[in-house]
Symmetry: C2
Subunit: 479 residues, 2 copies
């Protein structure tokens, strides 16, 4: 039986409207969004009074297990990205698969509580802590992450990451033994077995492939993964989309650019295109250090850039050239990456604020078609992320000919101090959400019609926090 | 009768310690912080289990009424600070004194809920909307702000701001009629009458003077206010400190610097020093566009810089040269300024993150004496702010010879998803608070031994939000 939801205002893509009803089918997809029928609102309607309802946000780039190092990497030492990696590697090596499940579950719960209903999990832990392949699903970190998503109720695209070496002309580092698989064939076989286990188990699980970076895989690996993505476009064994998502880190650090030029004679984006990504839909994560030719490549339809500004400011990566991306028509989405914070509102506004800091002016990110920065930024946080993951999400408006969107949404409490008063002017309500709201203002979160968060509380939050605190005690040597 | 409080960890200035008891006297000040007496914990002790207790933070620069424009100034238009001012002026002109009370009360409640127990309110609305002086206290915006602070329970230093003109060689703008007083004598007489009304009424209220900026007041005004501050150092009719706080905006915008050079032959800080601030304790707010000579002046003991990085990124002001300040020994504190967000955790980390974005490296702000960025940033958010306002606050450790600190503190919930697990390594707990915590993790907030926030909820939050939403409807023309 269909269920019906209303709220003070519902975001319809063009703006906020009152008096709208969202009808959800038994399959968890949107049946309709519009004015109630002439006879009045349907019986049994759920009224979310004092709240605004928005399409769930899409976190297009996450490494969930890195939640375990939040706040533990802010100490003096060799002062760059590569030193941050050492504590990250330590956590990556020491967490057991069941612990990875707990850490990921907490990260996914934090995302849901912040209005994020879909995650692109760029997952590169595949082996046991000793580097051997897992003997069974309980030892398999890939399964652990998917079990975490299932328990939390978040929609997930597992972007299974391929990692082969420490860098150009460098073999693997023992610290990376948990990431590395011996050949693309092994990588792909494990991906297909994983998908076989999970696609029938949950409609919330889809897959993609992720050559980690031009640093961690060579041209042959990239070519094999690109071929696989091309051959499996629209393969229902892996994805709901007409393509297979392919994500890759590119242009995060100047050193990576120099090494790409050494190896490929071209910077990362161009090296990737030459190695097989040309013509294929893909998502380039970070794309901070990119030249004009790379920006032109990134502007091709089907290509997306995933910016992770909250992580990028934490890591000292820099800020991507967003105005140049917008001028070139590059599609942008957002990711929480290292989980330094999990706050997609902050990701949105940081994109604009970084640019204000650079230029000393205001109101700088106006993508074509957006009236305001908030409109453009909210599209990055929703529909563009959904596009990068191949999901019918990020919008609640069914479009003829396209896949019917999932009923993935969240509400914001109009009485929360961060946002209170914003409904006095519905025309600037989205501005208030994007520039002012805190995750703490999120009240209800629904994935495929299933309310996983009610009144700001996730249904398995308490036990997950308890388990996570025990994991952290072990990780920090306090058993 | 004294009251006693304990928590899993208490911040003692040097770090977090467990097993500590905070004892609070009937006067609302700290009696003792330390291990319980040999006989064990005192009877009737309040145990805040699962929480860490920290000294209340000090928000050294606030314009509370600007909460009314949050989210309403993010639209395309002439793209600089001076255009942002137009909506701000609109709110400043149209809010009645009782409405200013409501808006300020909500802002103060949001601060308290975020762990801020003291505010330096740089207040420049003094007249009726028509520009006439108020006939009585109900019409007086100064009283309105103090009534708001009293109702919310926050400690406040009212930095009464002097405003005389639109700028160098420009008379007043009718839009500024609510700020302007005809002479320094009128300004000071009103300050003294206000203090006479409030100092006996509440020990949480102190005063300071604030020449608005070198733009808004000329050299004669500055000299008169500086003389007043010098003559009233330690005047119990105004302050609890041995000096009288004097705050001034300086170096926020390049145009302001150019105009100061035109009028005074010197940039703002040097112009202020020449006009009478030399040798006096004062706080320069923003200090973004400053030269080496100004930085040297700011490094004098007694002088503080109030950085407002969350507002400054919103306004496109830029970021102050913090590493040069630290190298010169400049004392830094923090302010929420325009209330674009009220989040002192974000203020702290933004200071470090802005610098990472500029330099492309990590771990950059290490003031002398601090082992970690978190230690230095937390001092900015607490003791240095208290120093700038002349308050015995920002610490819970009594120091012989100094005023006994107020029992102003807050707790953070160790089960909140933003911070969960951080107590597994008490050595990095402060890092986790500074770099990871959200105001939503704050549970209890106490001012002078009085719990104004319990379990994350302020005691008059609900009715204040209701009143604020009505004010916003009127302001937005939806009565």
């Amino acid at each position: 039986m269909a269920c019906h939801v209303t709220a003070d205002f519902i975001f319809t893509g063009a703006g906020f409207e009152s008096g709208q009803v969202l009808s959800i089918g038994d399959d968890g997809r949107v049946l309709a969004l519009g004015s109630p029928p002439p006879g009045g609102a349907p019986a049994g309607i759920l009224r979310l009074a004092g709240r605004v309802l928005l399409p769930g946000m899409v976190n297009a780039h996450s490494h969930a297990f890195q939640r375990a190092i939040r706040g533990r990497v802010e100490r003096p030492g060799p002062d760059d990205f590569w030193s941050w990696r050492t504590p990250m590697y330590d956590a990556a090596l020491r967490l057991t698969a069941p612990e990875i499940e707990v850490v990921s579950r907490l990260a996914f719960i934090e995302m849901l509580k912040a209005g994020v209903t879909s995650v692109g999990e760029f997952h590169y832990l595949h082996n046991r802590p000793d580097g051997a392949p897992p003997n069974d699903e309980t030892e398999d970190p890939d399964d652990a992450v998917l079990r975490a998503a299932e328990a939390a109720g978040i929609r997930i695209t597992l972007l299974r990451a391929a990692y082969a070496r420490a860098g150009f002309a460098r073999s693997t580092d023992p610290m990376q033994r948990r990431f590395v698989e011996r050949s693309p064939e092994i990588f792909l076989a494990r991906l297909e077995r994983l998908a076989a286990r999970w696609r029938s188990r949950s409609p919330r699980v889809t897959f993609g492939v992720a050559p980690h970076s031009v640093r961690a895989v060579d041209g042959a690996w990239i070519e094999t993964l690109a071929d696989f993505a091309r051959r499996h476009a629209g393969d229902r064994a892996l994805t709901d989309a007409s393509f297979l998502p392919l994500h890759v880190h590119a242009g995060e650090q100047p050193r990576e650019v120099r090494e790409a030029v050494d190896e490929h004679g071209a910077p990362p984006i161009l090296a990737l295109e030459r190695a097989g990504l040309a013509g294929l839909p893909y998502t380039a994560v970070h794309a901070i250090h990119v030249n004009d030719e790379e920006i032109a490549a990134l502007s091709r339809p089907g290509v997306t850039v995933a910016a992770c500004p909250v992580t990028e400011r934490n890591l000292g990566d820099g800020a991507a050239p967003i105005p140049r991306f917008l001028a070139a028509g590059v599609r942008l989405c957002l990711g929480s990456d290292s989980q330094a914070e999990i706050n997609q509102f902050e990701e949105m506004r940081t994109l604009e604020y970084n640019e204000r800091l650079k230029q000393g002016r205001r109101i700088l990110l106006l993508p074509p078609g957006a009236r305001t920065p908030a409109e453009g930024l909210f599209a990055c946080a929703t529909v563009h992320g959904a596009g990068a993951l191949g999901l019918a999400a990020g919008t609640l408006v069914p479009v003829p000919g396209a896949a019917t969107p999932w009923a993935d949404f969240y509400t914001v409490d109009l009485s929360h101090p961060t946002i209170a008063g914003a409904d006095a002017d519905p025309d600037t309500l989205l501005d208030a959400v994007v520039f002012g709201a805190s995750p703490a203002a999120v009240r209800d979160v629904c994935v495929a019609g299933d309310f996983v968060v009610r009144d700001g509380h996730h249904r398995i939050e308490d036990e997950t926090v308890r388990e996570f605190r025990l994991v952290m005690r072990r990780l920090c040597g306090r058993p």
